[in-house]
């Protein structure tokens, strides 16, 4: 019982990331928050806040700093090893006392951002390495049926392979098509015959659009022992691309983050939490019964009554100390979908207009991006434009 006390004492809560500020375009303020959390916050949340920091740095145009942040988070999220004391604390005490390593969909998104940063550094091979790691992590979901169903990672791995002359590009493209078909058949958003996957090498200008706001993780059940996801509202549903005043088309979904979160499957910890919930309820009931019997002197024997009071009190204390709540820490600034648009554009400077539209196709002026892009005669130009206000991007 005493062993449970320190464990419960170190329960770690979700950092209060100012998501509304992030969505409003106050990236410097959110970055400042994340930097402060990195230094002063719970070390167990380091990967989570580093991911948020990386996103802000990307929005502020500091790709090198973003890469370092995502790399740091990837190191934590990709490490399987856990100390015995951490495992004991998470099992006996609060699950959220453990180091946040993210769910497989969060690991996949970390890989996505990290690969983009490496690509911008001019290292498509390292970008592919990050994606390969992301694909492996995506395969960690408990439900085997949903393993390796992230078309975005496969497609990007194929493109990176082509960019640096690595092997296996066609295999990645085929995996991307299979993943997309599977995901669509299992209620993921997107289109079954995605034109981008039909012609995966198309375009020397590739635009990546993290759109919307990703799912929220919350605790459900009488003892909050169940970790669940719910989608969050956001007006943006797709991106519309124009170059030099000419409308080229609309983005297509390659990764439905909400779907990826929903299809994680049950975890071993879920079973442990369920067991703890039963234990908590049982000890609570038994403790109350013993305590009432003892206090009411129902046995007629003073020694027995005293023993019942002590045992009842101990059981109630044990019940109160049993932490059943699920660890619901999550990466709160993820997008709801990642969409892609690729076009063949003549080399030179171009005026790029990205308009985010809602589900009915109405434009969202606040999220409109006017960008100047330079397309080289050889190679490819990749750009990441989230459905966020462009304020920081233009600074």
């Amino acid at each position: 019982m005493l062993a449970a006390i320190p464990a419960a004492g170190c329960a770690i809560s979700q950092p209060e990331v100012p998501v509304s500020s992030y969505l409003a375009g106050h990236y410097a303020a959110v970055q400042e928050f994340a930097e402060r959390e990195v230094v002063e916050g719970a070390v167990e949340n380091l990967a989570l806040v580093m991911n948020v920091k990386g996103q802000c740095e990307l929005a502020l145009g500091d790709v090198d700093a973003a890469r370092i942040a995502f790399q740091g988070a990837a190191q934590i999220m990709g490490t399987w090893a856990t100390t015995g004391s951490e495992a004991t604390a998470a099992i006996v005490g609060s699950e959220s006392s453990k180091t946040y390593k993210g769910d497989s969909y969060e690991k996949a998104m970390n890989a996505f951002y990290l690969s983009y940063c490496y690509l911008q550094k001019g290292e498509p091979d390292n970008a592919r390495a990050a994606l390969k790691r992301g694909i492996l992590m995506d395969a960690e979901v408990a439900d085997e049926k949903y393993q390796a169903d992230n078309a975005l990672l496969f497609w990007m791995a194929g493109r990176m392979s082509k960019l640096y002359g690595g092997s296996g590009a066609d295999g990645y493209f085929e995996e991307a098509r299979v993943a997309n078909t599977f995901a669509i058949a299992h209620e993921s958003r997107g289109v079954a015959n995605n034109p981008l996957l039909a012609n995966p090498t198309k375009g020397n200008l590739v635009l990546l659009f993290p759109i919307g706001l990703g799912p929220e993780k919350y605790a459900d059940g009488a003892q909050e022992q169940l970790a669940r996801f719910r989608s969050q509202g956001h007006p943006a549903a797709a991106a519309q691309v124009s170059i030099n005043g000419k409308l080229l088309g609309r983005s297509t979904i390659l990764s439905d983050v909400d779907y990826q979160a929903r299809t994680l499957g049950g975890t071993a910890m879920e079973g442990i939490r369920q067991g703890k919930a039963v234990f908590k309820t049982s000890t609570n009931i038994a403790g109350k019964v013993l305590l009432v019997n003892g206090l009411n002197k129902r046995s007629g024997n003073r020694n027995t009554d005293n023993a019942q009071v002590i045992a009842g009190g101990a059981l109630l204390l044990l019940s109160a100390l049993t932490a059943t709540a699920a660890d619901v820490r999550y990466w709160p600034t993820l997008p709801s979908t990642v969409q892609v648009f690729a076009a063949d554009v003549p080399p030179g400077e171009h005026e790029l207009l990205v308009e985010f539209v809602d589900g009915r196709g109405n434009g969202l002026p606040r999220l409109q991006h006017n960008l100047q892009v330079s397309v080289s005669a050889s190679g490819e130009t990749w750009l990441l434009v989230p459905s966020l206000p462009p304020f920081a991007l233009q600074q």
């Binding site: 090893a81 099992i91 960690e140």
Partner: protein, 198 residues
């Protein structure tokens, strides 16, 4: 008395659980206590030392009978693995160990973009008489090029994962395109996922 003892005991337990950190210098050849797959400092050091010793022992870069030194430059390292790496860290360490192994018996050329820019700028300033010295020597040509690659095979089954990494270096003759030397470094890690992360 009992209450005070219990309170002190609980506080002690809380401090034990929540405190204790360290910041210690460690031997870079020691196994990394920060676990995870991928190359560690000991791998990078061992690899560089072994490659430098082997390439010297092989003799391909030894000076000719008339004392002419062979020249080479390190071109790049391609990462085909599933681990992102700082390629310059690996190659810089290798270059340093090669330099130490040969002790001036071989010409190691710096063909980095940065070095090329510096050389161009210096030569221009000398041509204009802005600085002392003359451009009385040609830029050094290279006899060989040293390249590296890193590949991995990753396997995942349930709570177990293994990662095999193969780092290969090769020296190519820039006149004949003959592969004149190659060697590799291998490492493998196995990981078991804790129940709290499953």
């Amino acid at each position: 008395m009992l209450t005070r003892s219990v309170t002190v005991g609980l506080l002690g337990l809380l401090l034990t659980a929540c405190g204790s950190t360290r910041d210690t210098r460690v031997n870079p050849d020691a196994a990394d206590s920060v676990t995870g797959t991928g190359l560690q400092s000991m791998d990078i050091r061992t690899m560089a030392t072994r490659m430098a010793a082997d390439i010297k022992e092989y003799g391909i870069l030894a000076p000719s009978r008339d004392g002419a030194r062979a020249s080479f430059f390190i071109y790049e390292m391609v990462n085909d693995s599933s681990d992102t790496i700082d390629k310059t860290l690996v190659l810089t360490k290798l270059r340093t160990d090669l330099f130490k192994a040969f002790r001036g018996q071989v010409k190691i050329l710096d063909r980095s973009a940065n070095a090329n820019d510096l050389v161009d700028a210096e030569r221009r300033m000398k041509e204009r008489g802005q600085v002392s010295g003359e451009n009385n020597r040609k830029l050094a040509g290279s006899d060989f090029v040293l390249k590296g690659s890193m590949k991995s095979r990753d396997r995942l089954a349930g709570k177990l994962k293994s990662s095999y990494i193969l780092v290969t270096f090769e020296l190519t003759d820039l006149v004949t395109s003959e592969l004149v030397w190659t060697n590799d470094y291998e490492m493998k890690t196995e990981s078991e996922k804790s129940v709290i992360n499953r």
